[in-house]
């Protein structure tokens, strides 16, 4: 029996360091679900009649997101469907796809899978070069937006958590890229992206998945060893362990910067017509590189 106790008197399973408060499984579950609904309400992320594409990779974030969106659709009249991008990573994506297929079947949710191979002509495994993470990220975002729009989605829900948000802010700081923090949408081809988990730490999402028996694929992408985000993640986690609340403060910094100067516009790519912050979108630039290789 755990000796630390939740405020309700039950054995604690989790300590939220920045609050100095212990939580039992049930209180942590309620707290996370409240955070999810509060984030949605605060930013008007969901409206009655929305058709929401949920980007699901099979990892813990997107599986928790799908679980919570499934609960939400029982209270709010919205349609949800799952969308997965198959990058073609043998021994990784095929395994996570199976986890998504099982859960969507159990929840009776439509599941659409689109592959790099069909869209750009090559799987990630077939790209025998560097910059895997850049290419993967660009094509994944490109395809998620395009396919969601083609399937009639009014919103695209993604499983970005508080850690992801903090990492993005710090990466933009390290790249000296203020524009990326501040950009706004100016394209009607951009399916509004919602991030209902953005205020929930990654660690709490794993705890939520375990407590509520939500299956997820635990594997790590074989290409993620050499990626800036992973380095930034290590730095932030070291700071958070020493100075609890660091992740929240980094995200708050990003939110404040967003309102300081004129934001960078997103327009339509002159080649493919998809939303882009540049004249020719990154996906088209990389597609040219792929064709040449």
């Amino acid at each position: 029996m755990n000796s630390q106790k939740c405020n309700c008197g039950k054995p604690a399973v989790y300590l939220r360091l920045n609050e100095g408060r212990h939580y039992c499984g049930l209180c942590l579950t309620r707290q996370i679900e409240r955070n999810f609904t509060k984030t949605i309400a605060k930013e008007n992320m969901v409206k009655k009649g929305d058709s929401i594409a949920v980007g699901v990779s099979g990892g813990k974030d997107s599986m928790v997101l799908l679980h919570l969106m499934n609960k939400l659709r029982k209270k709010v009249p919205i349609k949800i469907f799952a969308i997965t991008i198959d990058e073609g990573i043998k021994g990784y994506r095929n395994k996570s796809l199976a986890v998504v297929a099982d859960l969507t079947k159990e929840m009776e949710i439509e599941h659409h899978v689109f592959s790099f191979k069909d869209e750009i002509g090559a799987s990630l495994d077939e790209l025998k070069e560097s910059k895997f993470c850049t290419k993967c990220g660009v094509f994944r975002r490109y395809m998620l937006n395009k396919k969601s729009r083609e399937l009639g989605a009014t919103k695209l829900a993604v499983g970005h958590n508080l850690d992801d948000e903090a990492q993005s802010v710090l990466m933009n700081v390290m790249r000296g890229d203020v524009g990326r923090i501040k950009r706004k949408n100016g394209s009607n081809k951009f399916v509004p992206r919602i991030k209902p988990l953005k205020n929930i730490p990654e660690k709490e999402l794993v705890a939520y998945a375990i407590i509520n028996n939500i299956p997820y694929f635990e594997g790590e992408c074989p290409y993620s060893f050499d990626n800036m985000r992973r380095d930034v993640q290590t730095i932030i986690n070291e700071m958070e362990a020493k100075h609890p609340g660091t992740k929240n403060q980094i995200v708050k910094f990003g939110q404040k910067v967003r309102f300081v100067k004129e934001p960078q516009n997103i327009k339509d790519c002159s080649k493919c017509g998809e939303p882009s912050s540049q004249e020719v979108c990154k996906a088209c630039q990389l597609r040219e590189e792929v064709k040449k290789s």
Partner: protein
């Protein structure tokens, strides 16, 4: 105090889960810890010969 972390014996300086993780040079932000199949908070006191199971927080791409 000696505890097992994922089956590996670790000599712990201190009394809590976080102390055990520090002794094993594991950042407490990157894992959740179970004892006897139950999640435990990082300030939970440990006993000699406790067996801990770690769950990685970081996964995916």
């Amino acid at each position: 105090m000696k505890v097992k972390i994922n089956g590996k014996l670790v000599l712990v300086k201190g009394k809590t889960v976080k102390d055990a993780l520090n002794s094993a040079k594991i950042n407490s932000e990157t894992v959740l810890v179970k004892r006897k199949g139950q999640l435990i908070p990082q300030d939970e006191p440990l006993k000699d010969n406790d067996a801990l199971e770690l769950i990685a927080v970081i996964s995916g791409g």
